[in-house]
Structures are given as C-alpha cells and as structure tokens.
Symmetry: C2
Subunit: 480 residues, 2 copies
C-alpha cells in the first residue's frame, strides 16, 4: 500500500473542495447572510489541511487498483466530513451525524434529506447543498484527473472506481482527456438547462440550484414542495433534462465528436433505457388518470416521476405515495434499475440489467444444450467473461448489503415499507422512498444508527459497492 500517494491525493481533494466552497461564500455575501462566514472558515480549513497534505510530493507516484479504490472511498468520506462542517457551524443542522447525512446525500447525488423545513435554510447553505450534487454527479476525482497533471499513477484506477457502470471505457486514449471531455459535456449541458429554466421565468438562484440537482441526478430541492409549485413549463424542462443526464455520456461524445454518429442509435443500453421509461410512463399515466382528471396531466405527472426515479434524481411534483399500488410498485422496481452506466445517475444501471437478463438467457441455453459455448454480446460486441462474472457478483453483493441494512433498520421498529424503500432510495441514490420517507416525509424519523447505515448505503451506492467494502478488508491495508 502506497500511503504517501493516498495522503497526497486526499490533500488535493481538499484543496479542490476549498475552491468549490468559495461559491457558497459568494452567495452568502450577495445575500448578506452570516452563514457565509461558516463556509469561509471551512473553506480556509480545507485550504490549510490540503496545503499541508500536498506539501510533500510522494517519492513513489506509482499506485495500483488497491490504492485507487482506497483513495476514492476515503476522498468521498473526507470531502463529506469537511462539507458537513458549515451546516453545523451555521447551526442550521446542529447534529453532526445529521449534517453528514445531508452532505453525503448531496455528494452521492441521493437527495435524501433529514430536514423537515428546507426553506428555513440560508441561501448559502441551499446553494452548497445543491452544488454538492453537481460535484458528486460526475465525481470529484474525475474532476481532479481532468485538471491535475498526475503522472506515474494508473489513473484509470481512480476513474474506474468513481465512474458508474460495469465496464468503464476511455473515450480517448488518455485518461486525462477523457475526464476533460466528460466534464465539458457535463458543464455545457448544465448551462443549457439553466438558460432554458431562465427562459421559463425561473429565478436565477432557483435555476442554478435546480440545474445542479438535475445534472447530478441529485434531487435536493430548495422548496418544501420540491418542484411541485413551479410552472408546468419548468416541470417539463426538468423532466427532459433528468432523462438527458441519465443517458450514457458516451452517446453525447459520439454525437459531438464521433466519426460514425449513427452508432448512437445502435447503443443497446440507451435504447433499453428510453424504452423502459416510455413503457413505465404510459402504464402509470393510465393508472393515475382518475387522480388527475385528464390523461394529459396524468401523463405529465407520470413522466416527471418516472424520469425522476429511474434517473435516481428524486425530485417530486406529486405525492406518488398515495398513487395506486401498481404505480407505486413500478416506481419501486425502476428505483433498482436506475440510469445508464456512464451517466450521473445511480441504481444498478440499465447495462447491468441487460447483462443480467442475458446471463439468465445464457444459463437457460446451458440447460437445453449443456455442451454449447455461449458468449454474451452487447452492441454486437462480446462482453468479456470477467465483466459478466463481475456483474453477477455486483448483484449478489448488492442483495447482501440490502439484507444487512434491512436487519439494522428493523431495530427502529418502523414499518417494513419505510425500511425497504429507504434502503432502496439510498443505495440507489434516489432520495425519497415510500410511507414515512415518501415525497412528503423525510429521513429525520430514523435513529442515529439507522442513519449511519443509510449513509453507508448512499456511499456504497454511489461508488458501486466495492471501494467502500474494501475499506473494511484488513488485507487492503497491508504494506507492500
């Protein structure tokens, strides 16, 4: 284990966080809020600690998968711990576990809140809350890779550990260039959404925070009613952008810079993703028609909610917890499917679901013709055996973490649907669940122990399980 490189990169993460935190300071200054100082103090603290940690460059800049995973897991924990401090300092979230929950919910783009009244927060805090979504959406280490000339390390390991999906590919030969391209697409798309929202007469502050929440597929709203009180035009814009940010970013790269732009339409994952969305929207729209009077309104509400849940954003415009069981069940099922790999969305990911379905088909083939050799293909290319094995193992790990979380949450003696959907909502980085954690509820109902489990689930979900689990594996920490 190369401890120096871990220390060094953690330092850089803090330096970047200090820079990010300058923004809520500015917001605080604009709105002349005292809370701005809390952000200023924390930003300075990040700067000092970051400076000290990066002061000595490691002699050995080489690191491997092991270090990569540890760096990513620790970065997210350290970043969240510092990110939570301003909430405590301002007194807006006095309890540190709660502040950690809220911050990790932000960075992991979950959007689950322990706050009962978000409108009571200062503008600086609201801005920071939403901005953590934007940072966490594409990933802070991907940002670091894009900006910082890290040499000697197997930077792909960092990227792999932080980027969602069963197999992370490089768009271009250099990791750094790939990271840059991703961030540029991400940045430009966010700007476009902001402009659209401004045209729809949303105030600038609301347009910024809502766009951060959409881009990162986060879901923190700045109103208690989430997006419910905004105009239909705004809701439609948010719906469209939620779906767009849930698409595999490779698709945008192909569209913008690819040689063969037609390949976009051949991307199996994107086609499945859009297909699932369409089918779910239609079923739910018919199912809730009677609630909203007309099919048009039902369709609009259904599409917002389906987009919000499958992309794991978690914004809401209606209390879907009171919808019929069919709609609720569909929403719970798509909570697990999630968005495309290589997007900012969470969940199991559409590509994994496709691979899993193909694994089952392959397995049934073995029963019919035991001696035949079968290859699982995606986009007409054979998937490596290791990837297939790893997707199945992911699924198993996922179920085990889920079961274990159910067990710990049961100690709180809340109802089973609340427990089940709050794990689904955190492990898939969505935000709201059903019953007590439904769109009108929040996560303040849980005990500190349960909150810690849900914090673990949020991080595990965002970092795709293993980096976090590896932290608890003694052999990882052995010296080389």
């Amino acid at each position: 284990m190369n401890y120096s490189i871990i220390r060094y990169i953690l330092g850089w993460v803090l330096l970047f966080e200090s820079g990010f935190m300058a923004m809520p300071c500015v917001v605080g200054a604009i709105y002349q809020e005292k809370s701005g100082f809390s952000f200023l103090i924390t930003a300075l603290a990040c700067l000092v600690v970051g400076f000290l940690l990066t002061r000595w460059k490691p002699k050995n800049m080489v690191y491997f998968a092991r270090e990569g995973f540890v760096i990513v897991a620790l970065s997210w924990i350290v970043m969240s711990a510092f990110g939570a401090v301003p909430f405590v300092l301002t007194g807006e979230i006095p309890n540190f576990v709660d502040a950690m929950f809220e911050t990790i919910s932000g960075f992991t783009t979950t959007g689950a809140s322990i706050l009962t009244d978000v409108e009571a927060l200062s503008h600086a805090s609201l801005f920071w809350r939403s901005f953590t979504h934007w940072i966490g959406g594409m990933g802070v280490l991907v940002f670091l890779l894009a900006v910082l000339p890290l040499t000697g390390g197997y930077n792909m390991h960092l990227m792999k550990a932080e980027s969602p999906g069963p197999s992370v590919g490089k768009l271009v030969p250099k990791v750094r260039d790939t990271a840059k391209i991703l961030y540029i697409i991400y940045f430009v798309m966010t700007i476009i959404e902001i402009i659209f929202l401004l045209f729809a007469k949303m105030p600038l502050f609301d347009a910024l925070t809502t766009s951060f929440g959409t881009a990162g597929t986060g879901g923190f709203g700045i109103k208690n009613s989430s997006i419910g009180d905004y105009s239909v035009a705004i809701q439609v814009i948010v719906t469209v952008f939620m779906i767009l940010f849930g698409v595999n970013f490779n698709a945008y790269y192909i569209l913008l810079l690819g040689k063969n732009k037609k390949n976009v339409f051949k991307m199996e994952e994107v086609r499945w993703y859009l297909g699932i969305i369409l089918v779910c929207i239609l079923i739910i729209a018919f199912n809730i028609k009677s609630i909203f009077g007309s099919f048009g309104v039902a369709f609009q509400q259904s599409s917002f909610q389906v987009a919000s849940i499958i992309t794991t954003t978690g914004f809401s415009t209606a209390d879907f917890d009171v919808w019929p069981q069919l709609s609720r069940t569909i929403l719970v099922v798509i909570m697990f499917i999630g968005a495309c790999a290589g997007s900012t969305g969470g969940g199991i990911k559409v590509s994994r679901v496709i691979i899993l379905l193909k694994t089952v088909k392959q397995e049934m083939g073995y029963f019919i013709h035991p001696r035949s050799v079968k290859v699982i293909k995606m986009d007409d290319k054979a998937i490596e055996k290791d990837t297939v094995r790893s997707v199945s193992a992911f699924m198993v790990t996922y179920v085990i973490i889920f079961g274990f979380s159910m067990f710990i949450l049961a100690f709180d003696n809340l109802d089973m649907v609340t427990n089940f959907t709050s794990i689904a909502a955190t492990l898939n980085n969505i935000g709201p669940g059903l019953e007590l954690v439904g769109p009108t509820g929040n996560f303040s109902v849980f005990s500190p122990l349960a909150k810690c489990v849900l914090i673990f689930d949020m991080l595990a979900g965002r970092l795709e399980l293993y980096p976090l689990l590896l932290l608890f594996t003694p052999s990882v920490w052995k010296k080389n």
Copy 2:
C-alpha cells in the same frame, strides 16, 4: 425432443398418483365420508389415463437434459391438475383455480392456503392435502426412479431437475440406489416423528398429517390455529423434526452408512444452517420476551417459528405478524435463505448463500489483486466454475421472477408488504407471509390472475426456477 419418453414417464407418474390417492380413499372409508368417492373416481381416472400413456413403451428410451427438465415440469403440473380434481368433486373447493392453488401449494410443500376454514374439510381431503406435502417433499420422480427400472435414460437428469440444491451428487454410483436410500431415510424419519407425536398424546390422524407436513417441510395444518393449540411437548417435537428435515440428507447417509462419520461435522452447509438457526432464535427470543412474559416461552415460540420459516415449512404457533419489526424482518430474511440443499426444504438454500458470500469475497479479492487466480472452496473441495456461475445466474433469475411477480400482484392494489411477503412465501415454498397473508390470514384475498402468478412461483420455487422457465422457451420444443 423425445416426445415418446415424456408421454411414457408422465403415464407412470399418473399411475403412481393413482396409488397415492388410494390412501385418502381408505381414510374416507374409515370415517365413512362421501368425499372418499371423489378420491376413488379421480384415482380411477389417473389409473386409466396412466395405463393408456404407458401402454406403448417408447422405441427410443434415450433422453437428455432438455427432456429431463420438461418431464419434471410437466409431471408436476399434470400431477397437480389431477390432484386438484377431488377438491372440486367434493365441492370443498369448488373453484378449479383455487383447487389448483391448494394442490400445488401441497405438492410444492409451500403450505399456502386459500381456505378460510380448514376444519370444515373432510378427513379424506385433509389427509390428501397433507399427503401431497409428503409426496412433493422428496419428489415424485425421485420416487419413480427408486421404484421403476428405467433403463437407457440419463436418469440423473430427472434427479437433478427435481432435487434441490446447486449441485446434486449421487450418494452411490447408481441413481436408482441413491433414490432408494433417500426415500428410505425419509420414510423412517417420518415414522419416527409419528411415533414421537403419538407418545406426546397426539391423535393418530393428527400425528400422521402433521408428520407429513413436517417431513415435506410443507406446513398445511388440519386446524385453523395450525399447531398453536397443541401441547408444548408436541410443538417442541415438531420444532426438532422441522430442523432435522431441513438438513442435507447426505448428512444422514454419512451418519448411517458412511465410512468416516466424523465428516458430518465438517459439512460446512450443515454448520452454517444450524448456526443461523441458533442466532436467529436467540435474537428473536430476546426481542419478543416482553410479549410472552418469560424468556423460556419466548425461546420456545421463537425456535418454533424460526425452524418453521427457515426450513420453509410454514407451521405456526403464534401470530408473528404482530411481533416487533426486528423479529418480522429476521423472519423475512430467513424466508429467503431457506434450508440445506438436498433436504426437503425450499428457499435459496444455505449452500447457495455460502457460495454467493464466497463469490463476493472472491470478487473483492480481484479488486485487491487483479491478476490472482482464486478458487471457491466448500468442505475443503474446490467448487467447479460452472457451479459458481450457475449459482449467480440462479440468484439473478430469482430476483427477476420476484420483480415480475411484484408487478403483476400490484394490479390487485393490496398493500406492498402483503405482495412482497406472499411472493417470498410462495417462491420459497414457505406458506404464510405477513399482513393479509400472515399466520391468521390466507391467500383467498388475491384475484385469479395473482393466484396464477403465485402458482407459478410455487412451482418455480420447488423446481428451482429453470425447469418451469424452459417450458416457455420455444427452442426446447424443437424436434431433434
């Protein structure tokens, strides 16, 4: 596809069923019940159809995995269809879908009932209901293999398709001898339980039916209170035998005939199985202590319920649906774990859970040392790669069937816990779930469509998913 052999073996299955059905006829005669005639008529019908189907021996007795799975799946469906007829004829379950549900619940050893008042049934029907558990527990085709000199076929395929567990081994070189040994152990253990229950002053009829339900890990009771109104001694005997019938039968073989009897204590699956039972009993006993006043009573109730659920029997002595959330959640989690492979119990099976846990450990190993080669071992022997792959695929198929069932059940607009636990209770062949299908409820609340899905789940669970899914795969039905 060798259609002749399918026809031929299905015929034999019906002949056997005709023989099995002679027993409720006798019971009907003893109690002088009219319902006995319904069984007689059906038994004769089985005899005639079975005779016609077995009249012409197929020219080609060779069959492969494909035919094996189809034979097993069809046998269970045909057997259930004929088995349901008496219930309709007696008028005790007039609706055929309901009668099918009840019979399949019997044969698959689920024990889920659509009846609101089982005590209203005739003795002949009660006997048949419980006897289907006994037949289904070890499997009708295993019975057929033990009795019938089938030559030329790859009989192992039949055994593999009907016996539970990730890898079915032969105890002795010949399949027929293995089947015989299994049935002898099964028969003798059932007799021992009957004797114990008679000593505990249970009436003979009750002792027979209860023992059938325990041996097959079925769970149909002959009282509305299941086992609740019997003495503590009887409850303890049933608890012990439920646990015994959930043990891998290989263990008994080793104990009785094995050269090295110490190997029993090395069987990883059995150790895990007993360990999980012990831990769950203790946690639940502490959790429900306040309900029952003393730890002793709580321990007895907890052990009965844990044994009943993990072995997927489904008897009940208390309404565990009103227990605290922690106890309810543990019971739901062990619903999925199930009993040992090679026992009469259902669920995912302890050995699969162990292999899955080891798969996760292996996967984490790959993250730490990407190039290392790792082998998953059980009982100090390396598990074949195909078995590991197949266990993961099983898990995935399981989750997909579960999700699909949730979707269809949602149309009934019942609550989510009822839906979730009724699928868990049928797919794992347990019986009772929570809420509307809890120990005091029953499955009559569902629509015919939902009942059909649950019927599918019961069969899929008992036959370990694939034989049933293969029936819906067109390529299976192609001529060679």
